[in-house]
Symmetry: C2
Subunit: 394 residues, 2 copies
């Protein structure tokens, strides 16, 4: 059986970042920069005052005569000569000639005569042109996931548009005769389908678009018809039909469309039956039907695949460290992912509390979890206080 | 001057969670539950097998005769009698009469005769009806921000719809004669406007909808016309026009529409000029025009306001602890929020590296920051390694 790390390597190997699309800044939140944009203006675009005060020539002593005013959007158009001053406000352009700002708290004013409390050095309270960034510079690199603050920066760079990776389009198909979409009549011994909705929401939260193909029955025609509808997508994610017996049915149906099988078992718990292959150029990830297994497997495989398609580095989500809040028994032969709550301790470190119910049928525990504790195969028993690797959920 | 904490108290005091709207699960990601939904089915809905094997009566020894099969979606409809067994697969309904599952690895099969390697206890490998949740239970509480895993849980509860808090509608208005929307002609000495786009993106990332009113010039008519367009919103956020002098212009213009002024100065840095008041029932938050100040103030005031309107607890984002990666000088009289990078150390604790450029004109530093280090007024100098409170950005 493949290890999780080997399998992650196999699913990521054939993937490359998708192409770009150009969007207005108002639609750029959470998108990933495809082409590093360069600034169309410097910031500040000229030397500006950092304070409210008077713009003067530093070398001209303490007495000056006011000859005008410079405020944001209303620059002084003349030139400051020796002994002259211009009333200036924060962010306003420094008038030509002036090289320093005397702040209003240190000035006495009589009519148009300004007296400083002492001499000022050149450059005082002046923000230099391009201090933040200069025209032509690229303060944001390709691969950056855009926050609201990055959008502020792009706006300040005077870039109303930005070229971002297009969102991966992910077809999501659930299989299983026992399933019904929530709210629809449930077959005898069946249950409402949750994987399609959960995977679609995960896809959305990870920056991609889901095409929900709904439910396929466990038969050839239904599977083939639904899988055909995935044409043109960047990725097909199925759930169910990958355990012994069922696996062959899904595999055979997809084979009819040209499916090339990769692996279908991983040394992990939950989530052992995981299928990977290709339909033409489209990668196919077959998640287990069990909802908890499907969500853990999606976190370990689908999320890195989407990060790869989006050009995000690193593709694999970071593994953090936390201290066990309660002891754990020795692990079995597969790598285990235990659902756990998190708490931040007084010293800033994370404490992970593994839930008592680790049955993969407990969807409510998976919903409640904040992290997965990673237990390598054959890990010995661990006591409370030991440091363990964790993956954050969400 | 008000402290940040006093001002947060004042802006949050008049707010209450908004009403609910009912959305399909496919649109519920990131929404906040308004009414705790109860399960319409138990999970599992009947006793089911946790393994592939044979369903038997535990008390009937080791030799059994197979009389049928139960798989997911295809339950066995008869009854298991003494000495009888039903082939069963993971997740399939336990047939009537049977109380235990002998897993296939511990069974030898000759024709229809099944021999167990030893007796099994009752209940072995059986998941009991309602083990995860029972019909009528509410495993998700009101106030929960819905993750993809919660959506899986709601689907398993057979709830195709969920009642969530409606998204707050936030009008965003930028003011300043020096500004132009990115890509439009920039006035002499002016610069591209970034606050409107940044605040709209923050509003979106915090679970609300922005109505971007664009730019108002610094004159009465323009301000009044734009502010009127905010009618019907849950909140009006302005930026600019709140510093000395300018403040009176915005205040007077809004007064024409019935503005009641609250405070307009906070003991914080960056972001001292912050205006708060009400237009009729609508709270008005006036952010400073400086982009970094505006984003810091939005993080400290707008985010908690939106969390309050969404019914999220606690309204104030958590303050975490981190260790200083480099020393800090003593703080001034206002509470400072220093832009910093974060690194997770080997022991799991966070290290915060305050940036050298703390000038509030550095938008690129604000974009790069991962956290704000909180420096209380008059905080003494701090050495590297000391623990400091931080706020995470994003």
């Amino acid at each position: 059986m493949l290890s999780v790390e080997e399998a992650q390597g196999l699913v990521l190997a054939p993937l490359a970042p998708l192409g770009g699309e150009t969007v207005p800044l108002s639609q750029a939140l959470g998108r990933v920069i495809a082409e590093a944009p360069c600034a169309r203006t410097s910031h500040p675009s000229a030397d500006v005052s950092a304070m409210d005060g008077w713009a003067v020539i530093a070398a001209c002593g303490v007495t000056h005569t006011q000859i005008g005013e410079s405020s944001a959007g209303h620059p002084f158009l003349g030139r400051v000569g020796p002994g002259q001053a211009v009333r200036i406000f924060t962010g306003a352009v420094m008038p030509e000639g002036a090289d320093s700002v005397a702040i209003q708290e240190e000035v006495t004013l009589e009519g148009t005569t300004i007296r400083l409390s002492g001499p000022v050095p050149p450059g005082l309270h002046v923000r230099k042109e391009g201090q933040d960034f200069k025209t032509g510079q690229s303060p944001l690199a390709a691969g950056k996931l855009l926050s609201a603050r990055d959008i502020a920066l792009l706006a300040a760079m005077n870039r109303p548009w930005v070229t971002v990776r297009r969102r991966p389009r992910v077809a999501v198909l659930s299989t299983g005769d026992e399933l019904a979409l929530p709210g629809e009549p449930i077959p005898a011994g069946g249950l409402p389908s949750s994987n399609g909705l959960a995977v679609a929401a995960m896809v959305q939260s990870w920056g991609a678009d889901a095409l929900d193909l709904g439910l396929a029955a466990d038969d050839f025609d239904s599977l083939v018809a639904k899988a055909r509808a995935a044409e043109g997508c960047d990725l097909l994610v199925t759930s169910g039909g990958v355990s012994v017996g069922a696996y062959d049915k899904v595999k055979e149906s997809l084979a009819h469309l040209g499916f090339e099988a990769g692996f279908h078992k991983i040394g992990m718990k939950p989530g052992k039956p995981l299928m990977f292959g290709r339909l033409g150029r489209m990668p196919v990830l077959g998640l287990p039907g069990n909802p908890v297994s499907a969500m853990v497997a999606a976190t370990l495989f689908l999320k890195p695949m989407l990060r790869c398609l989006l050009g995000l580095e690193p593709a694999l989500p970071p593994i953090l460290l936390a201290q066990l809040a309660s002891p754990l028994p020795a692990a079995g032969g597969r790598q285990e992912y235990l659902r756990a709550g998190l708490e931040r301790q007084a010293d800033g470190r994370l404490a992970a509390l593994p839930f008592k119910g680790q049955d993969s049928a407990m969807i409510s525990e998976m919903a409640k979890a904040e992290a997965l504790i990673i237990r390598p195969p054959k890990a010995p028993a661990a006591s409370a206080g030991e440091t363990v690797p964790i993956l954050l959920l969400d």
